[in-house]
């Protein structure tokens, strides 16, 4: 909807700061009690577009503390599943989170049930500042009177999220001029302040540098300890480093599920996805062929 002009150079100084996982605790440190029943349970999910079956009877269970990666070749239905969970694609079956049925609700109600998502292309509000972006994300529950007043000071959860995603120094810049990686972090920050308990991230590290990927991965792991996180990702190296479990999709169906090692050892996965050459290789070797795998997947 909103293609970014490639030519805009980030004006943000290099020392803008990296991620700060310590500050994360202030945002997500909540009594564990709240999250006890937080798990995503998908049963027999089907999405059909004009006769084309995009998702065909998918069952998926993701518990709190899991960092689940959805992978699969193009057209496997990864993004469509995320769309279906968030009410963007018409679906049948059942999607429950925290024992609340999500299918059939309008998108904004699904979000209020604790589900947050990002999009493949970083979509932040370019004309608003970083601070305003986060403030809006934090405010879905505000009453009309609060909305009609000016923001006084910075809400504590916004402050902490700024620290977490390392954007404190650029908080008053318009989000549109942030570097690509910073926009992705801003999106994660927005998910944190909106208090999403189920985070659905669509290619969160696309276009990031190696160092940024590392930081993002560590941050996601920390978030995953507290909350339910589902990541759609093409980057195999990132997956191997940070996934705690993997679901492989193929032509709208679940092909395989398990830890990274289990999935990699699954001959069906090797056949449709990784290519026969990857079979049986250890993790060290896998990193080496990651670029080739990535291009094969794109």
């Amino acid at each position: 909807m909103n293609p970014q002009p490639e030519s805009v150079e980030p004006v943000v100084p290099d020392d803008a700061g990296g991620l700060d996982p310590e500050a994360l605790e202030q945002v997500i440190a909540a009594p564990g009690e709240r999250f006890r029943h937080d798990y995503l349970e998908i049963r027999d999910l089907r999405v059909v577009f004009d006769g084309f079956v995009a998702v065909d009877g998918v069952d998926l269970t993701v518990t709190r503390g899991d960092l689940r990666f959805l992978i699969g070749p193009n057209g496997a239905g990864k993004t469509t599943i995320v769309d279906a969970i968030t009410g963007l694609a018409p679906a049948t079956g059942s999607v429950q989170f925290g024992r609340v049925e999500l299918l059939g609700k309008p998108s904004h109600r699904i979000v209020r049930a604790g589900v947050g998502r990002t999009f493949q292309t970083a979509s932040v509000f370019d004309e608003l500042t970083v601070l305003q972006n986060l403030d809006i994300a934090a405010g879905a529950g505000r009453g009309p009177l609060t909305m009609l007043r000016r923001r006084r000071g910075i809400p504590p959860e916004v402050e902490a999220a700024l620290e977490t995603v390392g954007l404190t120094k650029v908080r008053d810049l318009p989000a549109g001029i942030l570097a690509h990686g910073q926009k992705q972090w801003l999106e994660i920050g927005m998910l944190l302040v909106q208090d999403a308990r189920l985070l659905l991230l669509d290619e969160p590290v696309a276009g990031m540098s190696q160092a940024e990927r590392e930081e993002t991965g560590l941050l996601l792991q920390r978030i995953g300890e507290q909350r339910t996180v589902v990541v759609v990702e093409h980057d195999m190296e990132f997956l191997r480093s940070f996934a705690s479990s993997v679901t492989v999709l193929h032509q709208g169906k679940v092909l395989s599920e398990g830890t990274v090692a289990q999935v990699q050892a699954d001959p069906r996965v090797v056949e449709v996805y990784l290519g026969s050459g990857a079979h049986g290789r250890g993790r060290g070797a896998a990193a080496g062929d990651a670029p080739a795998t990535s291009t094969g997947v794109e």
Binding site: M1, F49, D50, F119
Partner: protein, 294 residues
């Protein structure tokens, strides 16, 4: 029973006028997403083309038959000029295009006023279109039947062009995925221009047809443009089928409302019905589903 049939015919007749006015929009707005407020003025240009031709060709019948293709070319060239000079710069700003083309419409209207005068003028109808055809106890005016036939002919011709010719393939390719079409060797610029030429040309033809229904004036276009856009909104974008169904449905509905209330109330009722309809099908009758998240 008679009343029912005559209502139906009145509706079909109204629908065929709407369809003629909306058909070009179904191309330019439906396929290209350009909101051209000057479309009505292209119709006016077509109507005045018929008026001017009549001063050169004494026989009203010949003049009408000549005016149809000439009106197409006049409307098309105006559209082409507009596309090349203004619209091509603004494909990413559809709402602004609306305002710019409204400016063009104002200028064209005033131009017509200065050239042809503000009062309405008449175009003589050919003798073979005067009178009516008796049918099931009703008298159907021949001009109305001619316009109905012309509308159907235009739809058939356009859909053949879209289905069979390479222009049609290129238009469909560009509509469905502009970037992919570009990289597949389709010149989207040339396609845009041709589409706009054809769409605006149909407006010219519609204008010629309107001369059969009454006198014409500089504000001819303004009277039809809003209804024509509503037809496309209700019909849904991407396919001509939607526009055809929508034009005739709206025509029949309006004729029915006019019959049971008054012409002015009918407009309001029609508007309410359209808003209610959009509650059920916000994308219109026929819509091409895409996977875009926006």
């Amino acid at each position: 029973m008679d009343a029912l049939f005559s209502q139906l015919f009145a509706g079909l007749s109204l629908g065929s006028v709407l369809l003629l006015a909306a058909l070009g929009l179904a191309l330019t707005f439906g396929q290209m997403g350009v909101i051209n407020m000057a479309h009505g003025e292209f119709m006016m240009a077509g109507a005045y083309t018929a008026f001017v031709l009549q001063t050169f060709i004494p026989d009203a019948g010949v003049s009408l038959l000549v005016a149809l293709p000439v009106g197409f070319v006049v409307g098309g060239l105006l559209g082409l000029l507009l596309e090349v000079t203004l619209i091509s710069r603004m494909y990413r700003r559809p709402l602004d295009t609306l305002l710019v083309t409204f400016g063009v419409a104002l200028v064209l209207q005033q131009l017509a006023r200065d050239v042809f005068g503000a009062p309405n003028v008449d175009v003589r109808a050919p003798a073979w279109l005067s009178g009516a055809v008796p049918f099931l106890g009703m008298n159907l005016p021949k001009t109305r039947l001619f316009i109905l036939g012309l509308a159907i002919a235009c739809v058939v011709a356009l859909s053949l062009v879209l289905k069979l010719t390479s222009l049609g393939r290129r238009i469909r390719a560009t509509v469905q995925n502009r970037d992919l079409a570009e990289t597949s060797g389709v010149s989207t610029r040339a396609t845009d221009r041709l589409t706009f030429f054809v769409g605006s040309g149909v407006a010219g033809v519609a204008g010629v047809a309107l001369t059969l229904l009454g006198s014409i004036g500089p504000t001819l276009g303004t009277n039809y443009i809003v209804d024509a856009f509503l037809v496309v909104v209700v019909g849904g974008i991407g396919q001509l089928k939607g526009a055809v169904i929508a034009a005739f449905s709206l025509g029949i509905l309006q004729a029915t409302f006019e019959y049971s209330t008054t012409a002015s109330l009918a407009k309001v009722l029609l508007f309410v019905v359209i808003v209610a309809f959009l509650q059920v099908r916000p994308q219109g009758l026929v819509s091409v589903r895409t996977r875009s998240l926006a």
